[in-house]
């Protein structure tokens, strides 16, 4: 964690991959700023960082999808300039992207050799193709029927087929972008076994992930990026979880803070207050492959923060609370009355509202006017046959444009033309118009400027003061601490603990985010189907 503890990589033999001073400029943004990174033979090197840290940009550069503005990439000592994925593969650098890019309707063998089928006189040589596919699978140590179509395989096996495909072109370097994000515990185990086997064969593996425990289970070294710059590189053994989390988030964390005061209070967050039922309560709410059962409650006039790193299950939990996904276990109660499972309409009728994480793809109708976007939820709750009179729509739009200081040329401006902050305000206005009991906000301040962010934060405090129950998801720890009465900390898709009152400060949350789980099987701390 201190500079002295950083790994000093001896330059005896050139590393397998040596990235030096890579800069990547997009119009108006510097995504990577003089980042260096190296990978040795037979090493699994984790690349970590929060959203916007530059991980995926670096992966794209290694994969040849993007050319860096400046900097060099050396492979075994010789400089390479990959111009395409295929070009990078020809150099022996293979990348498996997060979205598994296999052809679902083709067979395993066809997928592994797709685009580089062995041919003679333009005709595919099937026996040779099958032999090559079988060889690639053997390197991973898995046995799959070569003739099965990919779509009928479980996700983990598809992932392994994608890796086999990457290995088929004599890969020396394997780049894995979030390979475990859709895998469950045992599937992750299978994948890790295969990765260890590849490591023994001398392959260098770059492992990009959000899951801290998985890094400690498999990675030899860890490089952390933040805001496009390299924070540092450590051997896994030399880096504590706390140090890793503070490196990722850029927030200092006193190691001593993990005393009993900040220890996880596991009990109280499930127990509703004695007198009145809480505005929103969930008991053992869980969903396979998505989140372990979690209990929580929020009362009127209270704000509950859901803290945790990206991928920790925050959004998944919010969607379960809102009925956008159906839970496998547990139930949601609003003001003491249970909600039907997995029904957004029932949740809205009971007074629950949610602004989704991705306001453009899940929230707004971009080519529709500000007015139409604002009235949409209220209109939906009234039903199609009771239209809001135009005068009422105009009044609502004018009211919220003024109340939330939405900077728009007029109520008939398409929402797509507004800035991110104003779009977020329109989304908030949509739900305020239905006067909800509970408001779930998923990353309400992501990607918006400082001024708008302050306004939205003020609005949240104001709503809370007026008696609304608020569930706030945010990657910004200071936001959680400033705006929330209590926080539920999620880690690796499971509730890590709760903090309230004085105990709720940034370092306590960080400590909880970083804490090692009690369970011994740290590799498998993803969603476990048996946990419910």
């Amino acid at each position: 964690m201190t500079p002295a503890e950083r790994l000093n990589h001896p330059a005896a033999s050139p590393p397998l991959v040596d990235v030096r001073g890579v800069v990547m400029d997009y119009p108006g943004v510097r995504a990577l700023d003089r980042v260096s990174f190296d990978l040795a033979r037979g090493e699994i090197h984790a690349l970590m960082g929060e959203n916007g840290a530059g991980k995926s940009t670096l992966v794209k550069i290694l994969a040849g999808r993007q050319r860096p503005t400046a900097g060099t990439i050396r492979l075994g000592g010789t400089e390479i300039r990959p111009a395409s994925t295929r070009h990078a593969e020809a150099h022996g650098v293979s990348t498996v992207f997060q979205e598994i890019d296999l052809v679902p309707t083709l067979s395993v063998a066809d997928n592994i050799c797709l685009g580089r089928e062995p041919t003679r006189l333009g005709l595919v040589r099937r026996p040779r193709l099958r032999a090559r596919a079988a060889a690639a699978l053997r390197r991973l140590g898995i046995a799959i029927d070569l003739d099965r179509t990919v779509e009928e395989l479980p996700t983990a096996i598809q992932q392994l087929v994608a890796i086999s495909r990457a290995l088929d072109c004599d890969a020396r370097v394997l780049v894995l972008d979030e390979p475990t994000s859709s895998l469950d515990a045992s599937e992750t185990g299978t994948l890790f076994e295969a990765l260890r086997r590849l490591r023994e064969q001398g392959l260098g593996i770059v492992f990009v992930t959000h899951f801290i425990e998985q890094v400690y289970a498999i990675a030899d070294r860890i490089t952390v990026l933040r805001n496009g710059a390299r924070v540092g590189c450590w051997t896994t053994a030399a880096l504590s979880r706390e140090a890793l989390v503070s490196a990722m988030t850029g927030r200092r964390l006193e190691a001593v803070h993990r005393g009993p005061a900040a220890a996880p209070e596991r009990e109280p967050i499930g127990a509703p207050a004695a007198h009145a039922p809480p505005a929103l309560a969930a008991r053992d709410l869980g969903r396979r492959r998505s989140i372990h059962p979690v209990s929580l409650h929020v009362s009127c006039g209270e704000a509950l923060g859901l803290a945790g790193l990206l991928g920790s299950g925050r959004t998944e939990l919010a969607r379960l609370l809102f009925g956008a996904d159906a839970p496998d276990t547990g139930r949601v109660e609003v003001e003491g009355r249970p909600l039907p499972v997995g029904s957004v309409r029932a949740a809205i009728a009971a007074g629950v509202a949610m602004t989704p994480e991705d306001r453009k793809s899940q929230g707004l109708l971009l080519d529709f006017s500000v007015r139409e976007n604002i009235v949409l939820a209220l209109q939906s709750r009234r039903g199609p046959l009771h239209p809001l009179p135009r005068a009422e729509q105009d009044r609502l739009a004018a009211h919220y444009i003024e109340a939330l200081a939405i900077a728009a040329p007029g109520p008939d401006t398409p929402v797509g033309q507004l800035s991110g902050g104003n779009q977020q305000k329109v989304l908030l206005a949509r739900w305020l118009a239905v006067q909800p009991v509970v408001l779930i906000l998923d990353e309400p301040t992501r990607g918006i400027d400082v001024g708008a962010r302050a306004e939205i934060e003020r609005l949240i405090l104001d709503l809370r003061a007026r008696g609304m129950a608020i569930v706030l998801i945010s990657s910004e720890l200071d936001e959680i601490v400033r705006l929330c009465d209590r926080a539920l900390v999620l880690r690796d898709r499971t509730a890590a603990g709760a903090l309230a009152g004085e105990a709720l400060d940034e370092s306590a949350v960080l400590a909880m985010v970083a804490a090692a789980p009690a369970s011994a099987s740290i590799a498998n701390r993803t969603v476990d189907e048996d946990a419910g």
Partner: protein, 348 residues
Amino acid sequence: MATPAGQRSWHASPAVWPVLGIVSLVLLNALFDKLLPGGPGLFGPGAFLRLSMRDGVPAGALVDILNYGGAIAILALGMTPVIATRGVDLSVGSVMALAGAVAASLVVADVPSIAALATALAVGAACGLCNGVLVSFGGVQPFVVTLVLMVAGRGVAQLVTGSQITTFHDPLLEFVGLGRPAWLPLPMPFILATAMLGATVLALRRTALGLFTEAVGSNPEAAALVGVRSRLLVAAAYVFCGLCAALAGLIAMANIKGADPFNAGRNAELAAIFAVVVGGTSLAGGRMCLLGAFAGAFLLQALTTTMYARNIGADVAPLPQALAILAVCIVGSPPVAAMLGRRRKRTP
């Protein structure tokens, strides 16, 4: 009223392009009549603009456009909400043939004509329900679902009529296509189409159904997250489309006083899709313009009538027709529209 057309200024409504197209076609025809040597002049016998009285009702090329454009307009009105939900209905032509076959066969079998009409409309709605349920609840692609009915529907129609053209004499059935009400001496198909336009605009714009339909097509995920009943809406759009197709089929049947299961509604689905697209509704779904689809249908008919008026043979006619359609589409395409929009802004 909450119509998008009402919110926009007139030149921003997509309906303006087909309307301009119709106007320029009519002017072009008048110009030919006036300038061509030996032409009839502006209002001479046989001129495009000439309105004569035949059997006490107005007749002429302009009346022809209203008459024969009516059925396409009704199809286009039904197709518009379907396309707005990112779907398409290829089966409307076959549903037309089927509805005609059902009505004609029932009347020939001495069923009261009003019951025959009602049954035919119900058959159309049922076809739409099959499409809608398979698309929205079954999750099958609209193209595939409606293609199946496009092929099967015509076969069933032939089965109903025993693979022949069923002719009939029935005043009510004939009135649907050939009627000219005494109080309004206009072609019945045009009156029906206008009534359908009014009813559809009322149903979609005076309620929130139109907004929800557009929301589902524009951003299905966002619509689901505000609690819009997407599946029900999508299914309803297909039911309405089937109903419209049946009505158009009755008009086509009345026009020839017989049900022709082989040719009734042939290529009608293409005409309807063209009318909708020219009218400013994107095949990608989202915003729809009912008035634009309505005008687009009459633009298509104006083109056909022009071909007849100019004595262009049926073998050559598709070419100028296709070129005119291409021109309208290019003028309405986003880059050109943006260019025109910029120019408009520069000259206040």
